[in-house]
């Protein structure tokens, strides 16, 4: 299924996404044709169980879709919708038609079929039909809210101009609710979000590498393409190394996440993607020179997303500290067994150390 996904999504994104569309969407437009095409091709339901009408793809297979969303800087909540629909399917709830996203940052209270509270940094919140959130507490629940019932929507954006809205609900009806599956945790939404962003970042880095290598063979200075200079070659090689590293780290995070999140692989992927973003974006800009610093050039469509995404769903420093705290708590003798513990059938590695 992975290969089929890869060719289908590449065709859709290559045909329908242009720098102009990305700019229009940053100004508030909705990419209707793109979205309708994705839905018609059943891409937004890729990870939904077959019994509920989806393709029943595993995260290992869905990885290529999310990576491609990063490579093409998709100006719509495609990756977010994939995840939200998967969460609904896992909870036995009907997935949604239309854009839907998770709210990983919320203080939602749920009682008597009504929900109140504030959801922060909701991807494309203003455009969503439904929002999936978790309610913490003794009886944690997955709840679905209708955006139309929001008391207030404050539009905000991330560094790259992508909508990250603050949405408040005041005794709003809950459309669906289901108890969290055994073993899952309210923080899982954060980990799931980190998993998505790690693959999108790896995809964006892949695009940066391609653009930068091409530019180095086209741009002539001192009588030859700048890529003929060893000093440029060595920098682009480092960009390639970190791109390969972030790709493999993200693929591992997806492959090891089945019905539960794979905590260590996701933390590692987000940490490595963050580092790769810092190093990779700097190299891409250095090689492109002044033209890459212009609004007109499309380089910043990738680099600004990398700078935004590395901070979303837990930054490098957040996850590094979390992981480092666990490492210290467990002592040196636990480190190597933790790093080498093979995946369990449930796909959750090192839960006993990192939970």
């Amino acid at each position: 299924m992975r290969e089929l996904f890869e060719t289908t999504i590449e065709r859709i994104f290559s045909d329908l996404i242009s720098p102009a569309l990305i700019h229009q969407c940053a100004e508030g437009a909705w990419a209707a044709e793109l979205w309708n095409t994705l839905e018609a091709a059943e891409m937004t339901w890729a990870a939904v169980p077959e019994a509920l009408g989806g393709a029943g793809a595993t995260w290992e297979e869905t990885y290529t879709l999310v990576r491609a969303a990063g490579t093409h800087a998709v100006p719509a909540p495609f990756a977010d919708t994939l995840l939200a629909n998967w969460l609904l399917g896992r909870a036995g709830l009907q997935p949604e038609k239309g854009p839907v996203a998770i709210a990983a940052h919320s203080n939602l209270i749920y009682a008597g079929g009504l929900a109140s509270g504030q959801l922060d940094k909701v991807p494309w919140g203003r455009q969503l039909k439904r929002i999936v959130a978790m309610v913490a507490g003794e009886d944690p629940q997955l709840v679905v809210l209708d955006r139309a019932n929001a008391a207030q929507v404050v539009t905000r954006t991330n560094l790259a101009g992508e909508p990250r809205d603050t949405i408040s609900f005041d005794r709003a009806p809950v459309i669906h609710a289901a108890p969290l599956t055994t073993g899952s945790h309210p923080e899982d939404l954060l980990l799931h979000g980190a998993m998505l962003r790690s693959a999108q970042m790896a995809g964006a880095l892949q695009s940066l590498l391609q653009m930068t290598a091409r530019y180095a063979t086209e741009r002539v200075q001192f009588g030859k393409p700048i890529g003929h200079f060893q000093v440029i070659q060595q920098q682009i090689a480092v960009l390639a190394e970190h791109t390969a590293c972030s790709l493999l780290a993200a693929e591992a995070a997806f492959a090891e996440s089945a019905s539960d999140v794979a905590r260590l692989p996701i933390m590692a992927a987000k940490i490595c993607a963050g580092e790769a973003a810092s190093i990779g974006a700097a190299i891409a800009h250095a090689v492109h020179g002044a033209i890459g610093f212009t609004d007109e050039h499309s380089l910043h469509l990738k680099t600004r997303r990398l700078w935004a995404w590395r901070a979303e769903y837990g930054s490098q420093s957040y996850w590094s500290q979390r992981l480092g705290q666990s490492v210290c708590n467990s002592g040196s003798r636990a480190l190597w067994p933790m790093l080498t513990q093979p995946a369990t059938p449930r796909g959750s590695t090192v839960t006993e150390i990192l939970s």
């Binding site: 892949q206 590498l209 290598a213 180095a216 063979t217 890529g227 003929h228 060893q230 440029i232 070659q233 060595q234 682009i236 090689a237 480092v238 390639a240 190394e241 970190h242 791109t243 390969a244 590293c245 790709l247 493999l248 780290a249 693929e251 591992a252 492959a255 260590l264 692989p265 933390m267 590692a268 992927a269 940490i271 490595c272 580092e275 490098q316 420093s317 996850w319 590094s320 500290q321 979390r322 992981l323 480092g324 705290q325 666990s326 490492v327 210290c328 708590n329 002592g331 040196s332 003798r333 480190l335 190597w336 933790m338 790093l339 080498t340 093979p342 995946a343």
Partner: protein
């Protein structure tokens, strides 16, 4: 193959099943090994230990049974060697034979060479070193001038090799030499020979390194007589053979785990209540170890399926040794401890690895050479 096409792979359960057995063996074997000796990693030499490992069938694991090997997968070998390295076991004696010489002989050697050399390698009794660099040829390996001249049915070898790790305590050296005059095609005309280091005309002179240890050597070759049966592979194809061999040398866990002993003493020194900087740096080290190991396993999967992973191997080595070299610096930055050969375990390991670290990005190809290989795969050169 493009670097970005590297695919995530898992160690198969059959290979994974070995891990417990190796750990039990090592629990006893390295129990009393001081931390600073564990920090030697794959530079720690103990011929008796290699013999015990060979008796277990854990050397030359991928070698077919008819040559004394275990006929196991590349993944089985991976599990064994990463456990050895993580525990700081002294693997140096058999290391180069296991990693490079045995696969090279399997691929390019004659039937007679395999029968003659492989069983003793697998028993952990026959040690190899690799003679590549020369006083005038470091990164520019194709500029070597050590020469084997044909003389009837013999070859006469003259020249000198340098930085040859373990030459003073190995039985054989596999060496790259010229067998033809250098011409316009500088990568042509080289060949590989197996040199029995007990032959007349060979002088091995250990070179003391900055830590005070003697690991590497200068090997002077004066009219050393070799037989046709000492030639490995095809005369004139030495460059291609060496290039294939380097993929084995560059992608393994030894390019990630050289500072594991220090990571361990650092964690124990910091204790259970790290401050934010300590937690952040140790978390980052764990994340990178985890991911680089997955990259290394992905390259092993390529080796296992017969692909040529030269570019991916260069990537793993460059990223891996970058982390290895960062670790002593991070240790110094986040925990106040004077490196000392007379202090605590942590102080000793820090002293040793701080000094050893510069060699990590030199041995097996410098970072500039590795990045050049990656740049070529991107069609920049």
């Amino acid at each position: 193959m493009m670097l970005t096409q590297l695919r995530y792979s898992r160690i198969p359960p059959a290979a994974e099943a070995l891990r417990r057995e190796v750990r039990s063996f090592l629990d006893v074997e390295v129990r009393d090994l001081p931390a600073v000796r564990r920090a030697d990693s794959w530079m720690g030499f103990d011929a008796a230990f290699s013999g015990r490992l060979g008796a277990r069938g854990w050397i030359g694991m991928t070698v077919p049974k008819r040559y004394g090997g275990a006929q196991a997968s590349a993944f089985a070998r991976y599990v064994v060697i990463e456990e050895l390295l993580a525990a700081g076991a002294p693997v140096s004696a058999h290391w180069f034979a296991d990693r490079q010489s045995a696969p090279m002989l399997l691929r390019f050697g004659t039937e007679a060479q395999k029968e003659r050399l492989l069983p003793a390698i697998c028993r952990g009794e026959s040690f190899f070193c690799i003679g590549m660099s020369e006083p005038g040829s470091g990164s520019d390996l194709a500029s070597i001038i050590t020469r084997a001249r044909r003389d009837g049915d013999r070859w006469i070898l003259n020249g000198r090799k340098i930085w040859t790790t373990n030459a003073h305590r190995s039985h054989f050296m596999i060496t790259l030499v010229r067998t033809q005059e250098k011409n316009a095609e500088r990568h042509r005309g080289m060949s590989q020979f197996i040199v029995d280091l007990s032959r007349p005309g060979i002088t091995v002179r250990p070179i003391r390194d900055l830590t005070g240890d003697e690991q590497f050597n200068e090997v002077v070759l004066e009219n050393v007589e070799l037989a046709d049966s000492d030639l490995v592979g095809v005369e004139g194809q030495g460059w291609e053979q060496v290039t294939a061999e380097l993929a084995y040398e560059r992608s393994g866990p030894e390019r990630i785990l050289s500072c594991m002993a220090l990571v361990n003493t650092l964690i124990d020194s910091v204790g259970r209540s790290p401050d934010a900087l300590q937690a952040s740096e140790l978390g980052r080290i764990a994340a990178r170890l985890f991911t680089l190991r997955n990259m290394s396993i992905a390259v092993t999967a390529q080796l296992q399926s017969g692909e040529n992973p030269a570019v991916a191997a260069a990537c793993v080595k460059d990223l891996g040794v970058t982390l290895e070299q960062e670790i002593p610096e991070i240790a110094q930055a986040i925990y106040d401890m004077e490196p000392s050969s007379e202090g605590s375990d942590h102080a000793k390991v820090l002293a040793h690895l701080t000094q050893l670290a510069p060699s990590f990005s030199l041995r097996g190809g410098t970072r500039e050479i590795l990045r050049g290989i990656i740049a070529r795969s991107l069609e920049l050169r």
